[in-house]
């Protein structure tokens, strides 16, 4: 896979609140993620990780606060076009084949020579032999590979990953870690929610912990980073 990073984009979240009725999912979250940073987001279930990622992906509008990208994105090249997002759900169509799914999104993203890009990605994620199978016939891990391939189609400058290792076997996790390492080294900005330590968490250059929708820890030093991910200091 060709590494991304022709454009380096940073994220800035200022005093972000997200309320669902009277319940705060996020409370005055302010973060600045520099271009090329790889940030691990930790926190217990319901701490606001997914909401934060969806706001960063511009899929959810915050109740208050501001999300900006640096350098500022133009309307002609909206920030969403530079973003790759892997969510809990696979975000692909069960009733299409792996190849049809990736071709669909490649064409929407207006990727030059989409068929070649899709073939290359299918080989990378180890699904080339099953490219004509409907996604609904895939195991959870195989679906996750298609989901990751979809997010990487346009070599995004910003990658937002919500527990990306879910369902992957050890080889899959190693492949994903290697891919993310290449993207990080090429200058992509990565924000990923994780639980505990893994090959993927080892890539993080910074760790942030959320608790009840607020940032309670933010560190770039190795030992502290590990303790944030494993809750050793909690």
């Amino acid at each position: 896979m060709t590494p991304a990073g022709a454009r380096r984009i940073g994220l800035r979240l200022e005093n972000i609140d997200k309320r669902y009725g009277g319940l705060y999912a996020l409370r005055r979250v302010s973060l600045e993620i520099a271009p090329g940073e790889c940030v691990a987001l930790a926190g217990r279930n319901g701490s606001g990780k997914t909401t934060l990622l969806r706001i960063a992906a511009q899929l959810v509008r915050p109740s208050a606060g501001k999300l900006t990208f640096s350098p500022a994105q133009t309307e002609a090249a909206p920030a969403t076009k530079n973003t790759g997002f892997v969510a809990h759900a696979t975000m692909v169509y069960d009733e299409l084949t792996a190849e049809e799914n990736l071709l669909l999104f490649a064409r929407l993203l207006e990727i030059p020579e989409p068929a070649q890009r899709v073939e290359s990605l299918l080989r990378d994620v180890g699904l080339f032999e099953r490219r004509d199978s409907l996604v609904r016939t895939f195991s959870r891990g195989m679906r996750q590979r298609v989901a990751i391939a979809r997010a990487l189609l346009h070599e995004p400058s910003v990658l937002l990953l919500d527990e990306p290792g879910t369902g992957l076997d050890p080889q899959g996790v190693s492949w994903l870690a290697e891919t993310l390492r290449r993207l990080r080294d090429a200058g992509s900005t990565i924000l990923m929610s994780l639980h505990g330590e893994s090959e993927i968490s080892a890539l993080a250059t910074r760790a942030i912990r959320l608790d009840a929708g607020a940032v309670v820890a933010d560190t770039q030093s190795g030992g502290n980073l590990r303790s944030i991910l494993t809750f050793a200091d909690a």
Partner: protein, 224 residues
Amino acid sequence: MSLLSNTTVLLGKELRTEFRSRELLTTTIVFVLIVIVLFSFNLNPTTEESRHFGPGLLWLAFLFAASLMLQPCFVREQNNDTLSSLRLSVSDPFAIFLSKLCANTLFLLLMELLLLPIFAVLYNVPLLGVFPQLILVLSLGSLGLSVTGTAVSAISAQARMRELLLPLLLLPLWIPLLLPGTEATAALLSEDPVLRWDWIAILLVFDIIFLTAVWLFGEYLLEE
């Protein structure tokens, strides 16, 4: 240009998934067929009676079939959160809406075209002479049903009790479409068939108003 190319790609996806599963078309065709056949057996109408109440029956059947067809339109996108991946991929979110609108209009028209000959036979109403005019009326009506139905489907997809909400919101909204549609069809099925431009104009205005509204506010309908 992006809007057009994105819409074309997404319309291809809509057609491919429907013709692969045939869920929507089969359900609605069977539904309308049952309604038409049951009324025919129950009332056994003469040609004169059919001219009187046939258009109303036909449009009511199409209305209920459309509410069945439009229900899963955006619900399908919720299953794997594919609406989010579409929103992240298209240049103009209106393309998502436009592709569904085109697909729904095509499916409705196809269903109507398949059922018109059966209606003509069972109700003894000659349609051949007015077929092109009838297609014009049905096309404008189907577009109106699809525009409003697709919009309401997007609203109700994220709601609880969405199966109840959709018809409750849609059926009153469709009354301004039902009246001119029925009247224009009745005028075409009468002994002296005539294309009533006044009713056609109302159908056209309905379509234009709702298309404009959806173009202006459609993006908000897709947000979480």
